[in-house]
Symmetry: D2
């Protein structure tokens, strides 16, 4: 089957690589001619054809055309509009980026009068997707999603990448192969959004726990190192451990309840840089963590853990500063307390 | 009635000032001779007698002696032990500092064989206590707390400092006058501990809210000021307000649901220093905020708000750094994301 | 000066009462004829004129007309549209309800071509506003807000209702009188929204703290009352207090750091119903708590405390149930743990 | 090598099974004779010898004796005391249960004068440990931990159970085989405690996210189903998804960032009981989640996510009720708001 790919960043290029490896063909578009040429060269037997001209790209696709857009969220809307001008009834536009699902609902509706179908695919897997396959969360109309089945199967990890869930029998569902039609337009990005919200919370759980291990020798500080306003430890003998955090993450990878892919990656990062000195601790957040909280609030679903993990990221970037100044100002006002200088 | 005061810091001295103003007398002790002399001089008609010798202090007290210890928590235990050596059956030791209530339970038990009574008094009011009176939360045996009644009444704010609660009639309870016998040994510090836990949460509520007001003009940042990893505002037109935060705190003081003494103080602090430039935003925590969470956990009481406010203080002092580095390391590992530099 | 009031619920009627008491006059509208008649009767010397016909209402107003809309948020938009049809260039529509400030920005823009001015007024004070005055947070154009000044002054509490903030001198600002022009359209509701967000957090701080006091006698439970899966108390002797929670809220009203109007109200509620048996504990949330978190996320401001307080309200209404079932299912899966039945 | 096991519950018995499968032998003790006999019968060639008499148990062990205690935390202390009476200098007591690490520090010290060595082993793996191996976190003196090496190796999962971490070379560390000497007495249980704290947070992240998916069709509720005090959805069209939550957990198992063992188990639980009707949603907590927060507070480490996950468990058991009643009482007091009845 043939796939058209718009945008040859890491994700777009790797998706193309996975499908041609499985015998599919690709027509690819990027504004950078070198990028296009280089990927074209990878395709054996002419399986990848490329162009820097969008009209040429569309012309090269077989009907019904399948155009997968894999570009930064900020310009996705514009490019989809351009594509829509060139495509015809029955063709399919896929947004595989990180759009907010609100956009999907609007776009699907806007394309409907032209008979162009819209499919949103939330894609997880990061830099490891080429090797491991991408987990695909798909929203759109059923006939179109079914039409894409053989492509999705090639991009997804496949059933062999995890042990079968006990109790599941017979032909594996697509979910067992790593891709799932979640519902109508937007459903794919909705599920991907919640996936990322969970990711925030799980990451924070590890990060906070490791911080406790990292400070487990605080009892060895002498009493004089505590300032007048600090609470000295009641039992410093309880905090005399020099924990080897990289080794702890390693041991948890085998047999423990918290074993996970995130932990695997953390163990690798800590092995490479045991004190994480290459990171300053300013944690970015992409939109999906925020949108998850918004959705939870709209639904009236309590998400104290997910929200706390988002807000901790904001704080990591200094965004709590004014609030903290207000707190110190209050303490000074009612108790005459002066702020203590930083230790470091 | 006569009160013995050990420790003439701001709190101890102000308590003495309040009782002598009401016609009581005081014997005071401090290790600093100048401090003692200076307070003695304030007492008209010899109402305040001072010494730097603990034995002399005890000797100057009428039986049953009342010795109020008002010194830093770190040395309270030691001084109480010294006092206990000098006191006799029937005498009363008061701990008016910020001891953990666990200590009160132990001390009351330890003093029992000698017939010395122990009373713990949680004291709120800060630097304004002299003028406004101190809110007193008292733990101990009933006869002793009753014996202290006239002193407590003089130290407390008195019924006139707040409107009477609708529905209350007849003789005012001591709570209506600003002091309360909360229960046996430790009960005073227990209630004071929870008071401070609430204080943390309420303070954080104001601080976070004011931070939202402070950033309400973020929509005026040009799009180019958002980095690739930041989520640009979907609707910058919603965040074009230059809010005068000091004036907002002032207007809320009258008629609003969030009017409070903490807000009064915040309004004053913001009037004096509208951008709070004199505060760096490193917020100290005393033990009581921590102990409150410990108690809640022991009791199985959910305190998400109080805990969040404590942890935000820890974060304000840089204690989340390692956790934040772990998060950035994970993001780099699965997504190839690089940390963004600080804007400032 | 004359005010037109649309909607004679408790808030609308009380605002009218406050201004006529100060010598202003009012034209009032409500769909309920009895309500209109009854309020008309209150106005001495014909100071209140009423009608159930919107066109009549508009006709009775002097130009430039001032029409204050004080009705449920759900129908505010519709009524403002109807009013806009009847009003003329130079007239002023006030939305004094609980609209989201997004609406204000849209409405002000929509009314601009007609020359009708739009003013949003966030109003705090609740059922006590008549007696205490209402705290007014105002958004809109400066000339119109200035035009309304004498009305706002009458509705607001006035400078005497709180001690003057130390350091403030000279003529009092309007904020010191209880009303504030916060910025252009929407600014009033924006500040009111944050006010309510803070209210949520502060309320939760009290509620959680009182819960700790309420369970302070948990140590008196016999060991056999703890189930196999519960953590028995390591030191039950620490939780033997029977705290009189109503009296504690009363004592904190005088001299303590957490004294506030919310605490005054809590003390009254606990005096009237010491065990709060008339409340089931299903806590409603109005939109403003939610919108506050949305705004914080848009601004990238961490609000762990405010968010936790909102989510606790969701949980109070059973909205965490599915999440809790997932947790129990996980525990059963990895540890074979069975859920424990409710004690009650 | 020989292991003595005290307590033949699921964990103790499975550990014995793992070591004898690897060629080791065991002496086992339990108060239940049938349990002892049954496990004895499993041991081929007499590799498992059992008794219900503790003295006999000790007598059957080769010196230096290794006695692994695997019983409920509540009685561990008592049994260790009994064992200590029977053991001799050089022998080793292992606590493999869920003791608080504070106890380990005390016990190791208490046993020192007798020359008995104390080793604490935090054990993760739950009901799957027999097949997958147990992740072992070990605290104690180095010579003793080294002495136990071949046993620990047999109990742990082994290096093959996870892909090797990139960058690790040469002989695998014990952590890579699934066991780790974390430090002196208590270090094993300390690391296990933090493991469980992380487990709480990660579990809550999944649970909250799935709850958002579960309610994604809330927009299909008609407007009339929202009560006066509820915020009706501004855009119900955004919440029209009927998400198949069991399939979503399945698809995330392959290739996604949130793939983990906890997710595997959740997928299995949801496959078996798609609506989780067999769970009421009252989530137990064992001590370790609580102790983790205590340790974080002692260290001054912010753990907003871990704490929120603990408190949500408390709330799931109704422990927020009084706080929620306080909130409703406040809302009634200032706004005249009545509580809304439950929908269900």
């Amino acid at each position: 089957m043939q796939l058209g790919m718009v945008g040859l960043g890491r994700m777009g290029a790797n998706i193309v690589r996975r499908i041609v490896k499985d015998g599919h063909t690709a027509v690819v578009f990027d504004t950078n001619a070198d990028t296009v040429k280089s990927l074209e060269a990878e395709g054996e037997g002419g399986s990848i054809k490329g162009t820097t001209d969008l009209a040429e790209f569309v012309a090269a696709l077989e009907k019904p055309r399948v155009a997968w857009v894999m570009i930064p969220a900020g310009i996705t809307g514009k490019v989809i509009d351009q594509l829509a001008e060139l495509l015809e009834e029955g063709d399919i536009i896929i947004d595989g980026g990180n759009s907010r699902y609100h956009e999907d609902i609007k776009r699907a509706k806007a394309l409907q009068p032209k008979g162009i179908h819209y499919v949103d695919i939330g894609t997880s897997g990061g830099v490891f997707g080429l090797a491991r396959g991408f987990c695909l969360m798909v929203g759109g109309e059923t006939p179109q999603v079914e039409h894409l089945d053989s492509l999705l199967k090639s991009i997804a990890p496949g059933i062999g990448t995890a042990e079968r869930t006990p109790g599941r029998e017979g032909d594996p569902s697509t979910a067992e192969q790593g891709y799932l039609h979640c519902g109508p337009a937007g459903a794919g990005h909705f599920v991907k959004m919640v996936h990322n919200g969970i990711e925030y919370g799980a990451m924070a759980a590890y990060a906070e726990g490791l911080n406790i291990l990292h400070k487990a020798n605080i009892g060895s500080r002498s009493a004089s190192e505590f300032s007048a306003e600090e609470t000295p430890l009641e039992q410093p003998e309880l905090y005399q451990y020099d924990i080897d955090v990289p080794e702890v993450t390693e041991v948890w990878r085998r047999g423990s309840v918290v074993a996970s892919w995130l932990l695997d990656l953390t163990a690798a990062a800590l092995h490479a840089d045991p004190e994480l000195k290459s990171f300053g601790g300013r944690v970015s957040d992409s939109g999906e963590g925020r949108w998850t909280i918004d959705a939870a609030i709209d639904e009236g679903v309590p998400v104290p853990v997910l929200a706390a993990s988002l807000f901790q990221r904001f704080s990591s970037r200094g965004e709590a500063l004014y609030a903290d100044q207000v707190l110190s100002a209050m303490r000074h006002a009612f108790g005459g307390h002066n702020e203590l200088p930083s230790k470091s």
